[in-house]
């Protein structure tokens, strides 16, 4: 026993608290501490993953209150996988942002505290077994995300952040409403307990609660038309934060939504609804991405599209579909982070982040450009890179469910995606460089971070079996609702007796 899941929340919160204090002692500690914390958590997560694979779900009871009364953390194959992924992404983003832009000490303090908070919140969303607790974590994540979006003073970041905030407030309103509804009906906030008793709810209320959940969490999961904030926030936030959004925050949002739909409520028609809404999201986002003239906005729209695809895959609902969705989440986290990280060096000194400012940078930033191109090729699903396998699993899942239309739509949209990504890559490699652009060479730590992601893409691409085992057990654990309930509630029983 190396540790318990509660450390995932306790340690980073503590560290976030300690950062400014330590900063007075040794300034560099502000930058180093988050890395150490994340590294430790990564170690912990990997260990726990091994443990989970070995002996089943770990349920951690907090403060001695057993489920269904107390708050509990669930480290199942699914949540464990996502936790590991988020911590990994967080760690890589830390490596990257260790020296990203020469921000002064005060700014660094803010940045790293907020980043840690955001990661903690996201991990909490995934780990927690309590619906209100989840709400709290969502709010923690959101507030740190608002602040991080508005991190740069010079740009229109406040505008983006404010939009995010308005919609985020609506999100929290809907979540609270849903929680109120559930609580008024069932008198419990524990997810396993809710799932157990969901059939006792009046159908009308159940659906109402579900709708509020979908709306509230859909805002975090970027489904259309709830994603108005997304492109702005992605584009205006610092580069690593954009990566964190697409690699961490959105994943948590999607997880929450999927947990609600798959575990809490069993309403027929939800899956079809997911497919439809995911499809619309995908199509609109990719259509919007084609004509973007700003790099980060393009990446943001692409991110929305990918999340739509994830939701479609979840909507397929079979084990294969869930597997595919999780695979895509994993790949998307890695690839899109790589794109954001390398992309932000491509438009480093630019204020407007126009795509045409990246023209011909390949000569000046060979590795960054190469990694960006690798990411672009991977994300459109070209074999033998990572993206292909997730796309293949989605398609085969859809085919096994006889959803030919879905396949056709996904592939048509993929063509659109391919066009705009390759346009950018072509520009980077083959257009003459704009005179006024001053390329910035990436720092060594940024290179390391990006290279890790690039290697991950290659590893998953050439040897997908390295992750499919985890993904399969994760997808099974999501679908085995009864086991989840039993795992969580049995802990309570043990505790009481």
């Amino acid at each position: 026993m190396v540790g318990t899941p509660v450390l995932f929340i306790a340690i980073p919160l503590l560290a976030a608290f300690l950062i400014p204090l330590l900063g007075f002692v040794w300034k560099e500690s502000v930058r180093i501490l988050p890395g150490l914390v994340l590294l430790y958590l990564l170690y912990l997560a990997v260990n726990l993953m091994g443990q989970v694979a070995h002996s089943g779900t770990i349920v951690e009871v907090i403060a001695g209150w057993a489920p269904p009364w107390g708050i509990n953390l669930v480290f199942s194959p699914l949540t464990g996988l996502l936790t590991t992924l988020m911590i990994l992404m967080g760690f890589i983003i830390w490596i990257y942002s260790y020296r990203f832009k020469n921000i002064d000490f005060r700014e660094a303090v803010k940045y790293f505290i907020l980043l840690l908070m955001m990661i903690t919140g996201s991990v909490g969303i995934v780990l927690t077994g309590d619906i209100f607790n989840q709400f709290v974590f969502i709010e923690i994540t959101s507030i740190s995300a608002y602040a991080l979006t508005a991190f740069y003073k010079g740009r229109d970041s406040a505008e983006a952040s404010f939009k995010y905030l308005i919609i985020g407030s609506l999100s929290s309103m809907f979540l609270l409403l849903a929680i109120v509804l559930i609580y008024s009906q069932l008198g419990t906030l524990n997810m396993a307990d809710i799932a157990d008793k969901a059939h006792l709810m009046k159908p009308g209320f159940k659906i109402l609660a579900l709708i509020f959940f979908i709306t509230g969490l859909g805002i975090e999961a970027e489904i259309f038309p709830l994603n108005g904030w997304t492109p702005d926030a992605y584009a205006q936030a610092p580069g690593p934060v954009g990566a964190a959004f697409s690699g961490i925050v959105v994943k948590a949002g999607v997880y929450a939504m999927i947990r609600v739909i798959f575990t809490l409520f069993d309403v027929s028609g939800t899956h079809q609804f997911l497919i439809i809404i995911g499809m619309i999201t995908l199509i609109i986002a990719e259509m919007a991405a084609v004509k973007q003239d700003r790099l980060k906005r393009m990446l943001a729209y692409s991110s929305i599209g990918q999340m739509g695809l994830v939701i479609v895959a979840f909507g397929i609902g079979t084990e294969e579909g869930v597997f595919a969705a999780l695979f895509l989440m994993l790949n998307h986290a890695i690839i899109k982070s790589l794109l954001f990280l390398s992309g932000s060096y491509l438009v480093y000194n630019s204020t407007e982040k126009y795509i045409h400012e990246t023209d011909g940078l390949a000569k000046h930033l060979p590795i960054t450009s190469f990694l960006f191109a690798l990411g672009a090729i991977a994300i459109v699903g070209m074999p033998p890179f990572a993206g292909f396998w997730s796309k293949w699993s989605i398609l085969s899942a859809a085919a096994h469910s006889n959803m030919i239309l879905v396949i056709v739509l996904i592939l048509s949209v993929s063509i659109i995606e391919l066009v705009y990504y390759f346009r950018v890559v072509n520009r980077i490699y083959f257009f003459p460089k704009q005179k006024e652009v001053e390329p910035k060479r990436p720092t060594i730590n940024a290179l390391i971070a990006m290279s890790i992601l690039g290697i991950l893409i290659l590893v998953i691409g050439f040897y997908p079996d390295s992750v499919t085992g985890y993904l399969h057990s994760a997808s099974q654990s999501l679908l085995e609702k009864g086991k989840y309930i039993q795992d969580v509630l049995s802990t309570g029983q043990l505790f009481i007796q």
Partner: protein, 616 residues
Amino acid sequence: MNMIYIVFIVLLGGALLTFFANRISGLLRDTFFLLTILATTVLFFTKIHIGDTVSFTLAGLNLKWGLDAFGWYFSLIVLGLGTMAAFYALSYMKGKDRLGYFYFSFLISILSMLGILMSHDLVSFFIFWEVMTWSSYLIVIYSGRNVQKNGINYILLSALGAYAMLTAIVMVYANIHTLSISEMINTYPQFSHVQQVWLPVLFLMAFSVKAAMMPLHVWAPGAYSDAPMAYTSVFSGALSKMGIYGMVIVFVSMISYLPDDTLFKETFAWLGAITAILGTLWAIAQDDARKLLAYSSIAQLGYIITGVAVGTDLAMLSALFLAALHALFKGTLFMAVGAIERQTGTVKFTEVTGLIRKMPWTFIASLLAIIALAGIPPLGGFVGKWMLYESLINSNHYILVIAIFFASTAAFLYCYKFLFGFFLGQEEKEWENVKEAPALMVLPMLILAAGTLVLGTFPGILLKPADAAMQTLGYASTEGHLWSMSILFNEWGDQVLLRPLVYAIAGTFLFFLIILTVKGWKNTRYVSTKDISSSGEVPLEYENLTFSVNFYQPFLRAVGPVMKKRMIYYYREFGSGMEALFDYSRRIYNGNGQTYAIYVMIFLVIILLFKNSIFG
């Protein structure tokens, strides 16, 4: 360790080594490149035997690689042309930058083609197909010319085809829960009728894109002409044959089982013929040699597609023969253009003329290749053309044979234009100092051209493996009654005995050539091309008397109505229409945070209103 793995590892490792060796020294890079391709060729032809298979599991999918006679036939094209092009490339690419990148992509595309030919399951087929797409794409954009136009066209249409194929693959996978190609072929007759129709259509879409069939050919002229010529010879000669390879499988193993297969076959045969005609006509209109050859490739592939689609013994044989032959002569021609481009710096017929005395070896190679391309008897091209015509006539495709014949007659026009434009005509002072290309470039050309020469008399050399390949597909052996070493038969029993005919041609030619040379040998002397009868005028040095602008204007005027608009025009219109639509659709995100909030409420309201129909 199985030899099949080793070949792939050698290629992949060689590609990576070449890529990284580029940083160290050019010589090392060239050595690695050449060694890799040579080692692959040697290993492939000595160590891998027909019937070898290997299987493994990846991501829960059973993948199987192996080699059959059919794949071997196409491997012959790929590796043969690939090796020649590799030698050529060493000299052609000398001094250009980003060579590591080029050689890497070159080797990877060879690898992907071998992979396609050796894939026995659909997923690895698709993977290699896509690898082929992007590796060739990397080379198409290598030169940096028109990347945004030609590169995107290429990748877009390739993706269209590849995704159509992917759809088909997942359909098959969902249906029979296995990815084996042979399994798919075996169970195909039991599929539902809808699937039986759609599977071949989707597969053929992918293959038609690579085989540059109308109306999916629009990428080809740009892509062929923008890639470095060292690669374009492989691109047009071997890579496009992958489309043919797939098509043959689909036509033989799938479409034949359809109850309404004739409709399919006729449609594709006609599409092939139309491709041939339009490709030829557009080739005639080109002033850029690369474009001319690109359109010519499209046209040639059109013949092959027709042969495949008609699918009788003789037609299939002719298609396979032409596929290999096309690799020979089109490889030569692209290399010749490359040589000219390298030596003179231009590939426009309107600019460069009269190279025959400066680049005689290139001219000889081009001449042989052009004769083969035109299908004129003593060379291999005739054999393929003959078999194609006879098969069409034998299988009652009367109008089709006229269409094909029209295309190949019109092909003489661009054939002549190619030779005249570059090698004949006035010798201009501007090109006075042009030298023959280096031996490393000339030799591959000559070797390939000599191949067409040999095949003209002894087509059996190539027909034998083609016959073996066809037996793999389920055809009966046709040796002895449709072909033998140097005799061709049609299905009515008429025959062409090539050897006496070729000897007669050669004999007559030599006889009259000698007469012409000997007669007045002492008095006849060479004069420059400025010494022509031009109404008593003496053309000055700067006066260019070469006729090369609007070369075939009268002909193009005659066929004008067909050529008003190119297919790509419609694609462009469609594309810009779509982009306008996209542009319009993204205005949903109007930038006002409040509107976004209102969207959220609208979303909620809509779901609430329709909750009963959504969550039934």
